[in-house]
Symmetry: C2
Subunit: 350 residues, 2 copies
């Protein structure tokens, strides 16, 4: 069975020769090849120059035995295309200098087509597909409505999402208008990525775990659903729906949609398996910080996840969140090879 | 039924006239009376001067219809008594300038008796008890081993606990030695607070939700258990075991011990009820940011929790984490009164 098929087969809950593995933020600062490029270009330059985005996307594919590539991009440029001023400030992360605070701010948001607004990423997808030549599938992605709304309203990262939640409670009609605009933009962007050649899509709702289940259901879920429905009106590719801190809302994340549900390490794989049932595949769920542990501990923790997933059709091994910038590269290689070797052996001697 | 009994009855899962309510960090910056004192004294001066700690503890009891007081203190001074240099830096929160990084650092930790090390808080407990004269019960508290270890190793707050977790994985024997020392100090401190007159105790494992269930079980749970066992060797008072982000480890938190399990808003009350079963009471679980919402929304969300807890003996209403410093005071009063009125009506017309 050619390696290029493993990832998509697992997304479809078909049997595989070995468990496929990729790592969120696998193209990034922990790699010296990436840091070398970052000395010459800003993050936004890398993202907006298709040749550079293509190169960065391929760096981890050359270095490791990964089962999927993910296009090098970021969840925030879509907000820039809607009229928000985005900067990445060293030490502070993303900063939006004109955050949304009123209904008028939301009314002013532009809704350009993905091709005119984010054509650089669509072009990078086409180039990466050509370069990969079927070696491994390519994942496209977008931030989800809540996570993008939180940045757009807070103006950057947040500890407790007070400004975003307060707008949600105080001005629900403004909130709902914003979420509907975001859902449309996100859905169209995902669909355009599949049309450009992405073999799978991931919706990142990284910060959705800040919400109570009832608030998720009322203020967020309809818009994640809407974005997924629009994405699904394009080419039929698997959709991964990911969030962190979602142990208490996994059933709702599943209800919102996705062929694969991405989980973090704060829930046991077995518990997520029980909550989600056999109708979806599961992606996860090693704590990214475990990659700083000695290799035997990394293998022990990976084996525990693989053991828990053993009898489940549809497991894609991944971290529970993005890989940390200081992660030792040899630990990454050891993890990826171990996932293949261990799961291959499991399948040969069931 | 006198109001002073409600909170302790709910802790023991006995029937009550109305649902008791208190708020984590109820003595604090959202109150103008507190801010007035903070203009003249630092946080550590307020904590270490029994007359001032007594005054601050009583401020919310005078202002609101609360069912319990909690001694004004902080989880970190116990680390100071063990030899760590603690400062509260404006904007940055707590900073420890000599964090633990090695086995030798852990070996050097002192283990003074609670009376010599934290006598100021024990004295404040005695004074508050006298002042309260049985009006409402008084809660004593301590940080739990993991949460204190994370501050001691990271040197302050952390986003991903990388330094603490890396020490845990790379030097497990140092980790276990540290956790055993902390468990003993914490257990003794809780016991001393009960001996000084605290009517209940709360173990704050605020950051434990950063761990995977397997890591919690291996590296943390035995020490929370040990601290609770030592506390239980003192006067028989209810113990509340609290953490945030615990939806995936609630069964383990319960196994570690506690008469009451404190939950945050990231899990539906009903789901926590099912996971925890009838053997423990539950404290929680309104999102503290909901207090910034208009009062009708606050009432709607509080009613939802009270409805879910309706048929459960043993519910103490609280936020899912500490109250935010900018919370409107009239919203706090409205919440507290609503919890009583609504639950009283529920019980009269079941």
């Amino acid at each position: 069975m050619p390696k290029s098929e493993r990832f998509l087969q697992a997304c479809r809950r078909e049997s595989v020769d070995a468990t496929p593995v990729w790592l969120m933020r696998q193209a990034g600062r922990y790699m010296s090849e990436y840091r070398a490029l970052r000395e010459r270009y800003s993050i936004l330059e890398l993202i907006k120059t298709p040749d550079l985005a293509t190169e960065v996307t391929l760096q981890p594919i050359r270095a490791f035995n990964l089962d999927a590539a993910i296009i090098f991009a970021d969840i925030l440029p879509i907000l820039e295309t809607m009229g928000l001023d985005l900067k990445f400030v060293k030490g502070d992360g993303p900063v939006i200098s004109n955050p949304l605070r009123s209904g008028a701010d939301v009314d002013r948001l532009a809704t350009p087509s993905p091709e005119e607004a984010l054509g650089f990423t669509l072009q990078a997808i086409r180039q990466v597909k050509t370069e990969l030549a079927g070696k491994v599938p390519l994942i496209g992605f977008s931030g989800a409505p809540f996570t993008l709304a939180s940045y757009a309203i807070e103006g950057g990262s947040s500890r407790n999402y007070m400004t975003a939640k307060t707008l949600m409670y105080e001005h629900p009609s403004t909130w709902h208008k914003l979420m509907a605009k975001l859902a449309t933009a996100i859905g169209n962007y995902l669909k355009a990525q599949a049309e450009a050649g992405a073999d799978a899509l991931q919706l990142f709702d990284s910060w959705v775990g800040a919400l109570s289940p009832a608030d998720y259901q009322e203020y967020v879920m309809p818009y994640s659903q809407q974005a997924i429905q629009i994405a699904r009106s394009g080419p039929k590719v698997p959709l991964i729906h990911f969030g962190t801190g979602t142990a208490g809302i996994l059933h709702l994340i599943k209800e919102a949609g996705g062929d694969v549900i991405g989980i973090d390490w704060r829930i046991a794989f077995e518990a997520a398996d029980r909550l989600l049932g056999p109708e979806v595949a599961i992606q996860g769920n090693l704590d990214p910080i475990v990659l700083f542990a000695p290799i035997p501990e990394i293998k022990k923790q990976a084996a525990k996840i693989l053991d828990a997933a053993r009898n489940r059709p549809g497991h894609i091994f991944n971290l529970g969140h993005g890989i940390h910038k200081d992660t030792p590269v040899d630990h990454v290689a050891a993890l990826i090879d171990f996932v293949h070797e261990y799961s291959l052996k499991e399948r040969q001697h069931p």
